[in-house]
Amino acid sequence: MGEFFDFFLNGLGLGAIFAFIALGYTMVYGIIKLINFAHGEFFMVGAYVGYFTLRDLDIERVDLPQPFPIMLDFLVAILFAALAAGILAVLTERLAYRPVRKAGRIAALLTAVGVSLLLQNVARQVWTANVRPFPDPKIFRTLDEVDGPAGTNLYADRDFETSDGDVVVETQLVVSQGETVDPAKRTQLEADGVEEVYERVTLSPKAVQNYVLLALLLFAPILWLLVKKTRMGKAMRAASEDADAARLMGININLVVAATFFIGAFVAGIGGVAYIATYGKVDPMIGFLPGLKAFVAAVIGGIGSIPGAILGGLILGVTESVLPWMLQKMGWDAAFAWKDAIAFAFLIVVLVVKPTGILGKPMREKV
């Protein structure tokens, strides 16, 4: 039972990431009936921006007791990731989707596939195809603060001059775990130009999974209020039901569509940081499979439905985690290798049973 619960919670954590991505799919589909294949790439770009924020900005340096510096680090990374993804989505909509909006759904779909490939390739050019490991948060210490045997490895960022005269910053292990930091060692470090060292905090997968779930639990009601109560949210709902009728109310559809893209991608950006913390890596292809699965999640939940996207994401995450575990218990050793196939098979079953998804509205006839 305990083991089941572990897999279940793990599934919820993964599902929360799908939910973060699925929300944008479902919101955009709801309003312009476009399956935005580039949405996974908005997520990927958000993940990179979150990655660089965590790696390079050293926000953990703020003078607060632990764990607040690390929390702040993540909050800023999430904010930047979300904003970057949101802005990219608005630009994409304006430059690529809006010009073809009247050309029919196939044209729009092909444009979305094109944008998706374009963004993947640009990411590969700009950031290389290398898989980058997650930058563990740092706890900074000045040299006088370390004394005696070091509890963990201590690192320092140091400037090096390359043979062609460029200065590069490199991380160096300066004190190994257990090594004693005495005045002699300190003098030696100072001589090397080290004034400050840091330890790297390895996040436990369970803690990450709980925080990701917590983030979804906090964010879902905010999104709900936004869509349910605000003027823009009501305009979104009206426009997604009937764009012409909404225009007759005085609603500027272009603005509503742009806002929808922004919010959808903003949420995906949050998911991007959740992803790199969960999977411990970022690369230009991470938008592909999670994006596809989030789309599956949106369809399972009922495309166009916001609660459906969250529910679909969580269900898919749990299915992907618990079902292979059960199948393995039943004697199928390779079950985990098949988890993606199992997820897609699950989609097919749901769609056969309920073609509009779990919370999807029955198809309305258009007047």
């Binding site: 003027r231 009501k234 305009a235 709902r237 009206a238 039901e241 009937d242 012409d244 009728a245 909404a246 225009r247 007759l248 109310m249 005085g250 609603i251 500027n252 559809i253 509205k361 309305r364 007047v367």
Partner: protein
């Protein structure tokens, strides 16, 4: 107040309106009658900016409307209650009405208009928190008209308010349309297939056939016109 002159409208390459001209004067109820597919809805959609006019001109209070976006045209004082009602079924009655006042920022004004709509259609107040989709056809029509009134239009465009509604409710709705003109001074362009009811309510009428105006006269004269009687009042 509203003048259409030689308006041509196309769906793709297919022409739907041919040099259509009509006028609505301030304070009037004017009706546009004609059989299914004649071009009545097309005319209203062109006025409110949902369809582009390829030729001719549309003037509202002396200013051109052609080429303006629908969301700007509402702001100019033209509200359109579309054919088939097109209410937002997932939104509550209150939210539907709020959408009608989307461009109104003043909460006191919104409240006053909401009360006005409820005084015309008390059933809507009873159903204020129900979702639009749960209303009967007649109630949905009331909601569509009420929603259009929330922008306090100078000109109200009504597209077939009697369509698919029980006769008793049609009576009620037409009675309120008359009140909207008398008590609020709202000018109305009413599109109907139910020519008898529309002509009884209106001051003047136009008859449209395959995208062209074929008759125009005082409403009572049209009611007595043998050709109109035969084609539309039979």
């Amino acid at each position: 107040m509203l003048i259409l002159e030689n308006v041509d409208v196309y769906y793709g390459n297919i022409q739907a309106l041919y040099g259509l001209s009509l006028e609505v004067k301030e304070g009037e109820i004017v009706t546009l009658i004609g059989s299914n597919g004649a071009g009545k809805t097309t005319t209203l959609r062109t006025i409110s900016g949902l369809l582009p006019a390829r030729g001719g001109s549309i003037l509202f209070e002396g200013e051109p409307l052609v080429g303006q976006r629908p969301e700007k045209i509402v702001g100019r004082g033209i509200a359109h209650s579309p054919e088939g009602r097109r209410i937002f079924v997932g939104l509550s009655v209150r939210e539907n009405l709020e959408m009608g006042a989307y461009l109104v920022r003043d909460a006191a004004k919104k409240k006053e208009r909401l009360e006005r709509v409820f005084s015309l259609f008390p059933r809507l107040e009873e159903r204020i928190n129900q979702s639009g989709g749960t209303l009967s056809g007649g109630e949905q029509q009331m909601l569509a008209i009420g929603r259009a009134l929330m922008s306090r239009p100078k000109l109200l465009l009504l597209d077939e308010p009697s369509l698919g509604i029980a006769p008793i409710l049609v009576q009620e709705i037409f009675h309120e349309i008359d009140r909207i003109r008398r008590e609020d001074g709202t000018t109305i362009l009413l599109v109907e297939q139910n020519a008898r009811m529309a002509l009884k309510l209106a001051d003047r009428g136009y008859v449209i056939e395959t995208g062209r105006i074929v008759h125009q006269d005082q409403a009572d004269a049209l009611l007595d016109d043998p050709k109109v009687r035969e084609a539309y009042l039979g």
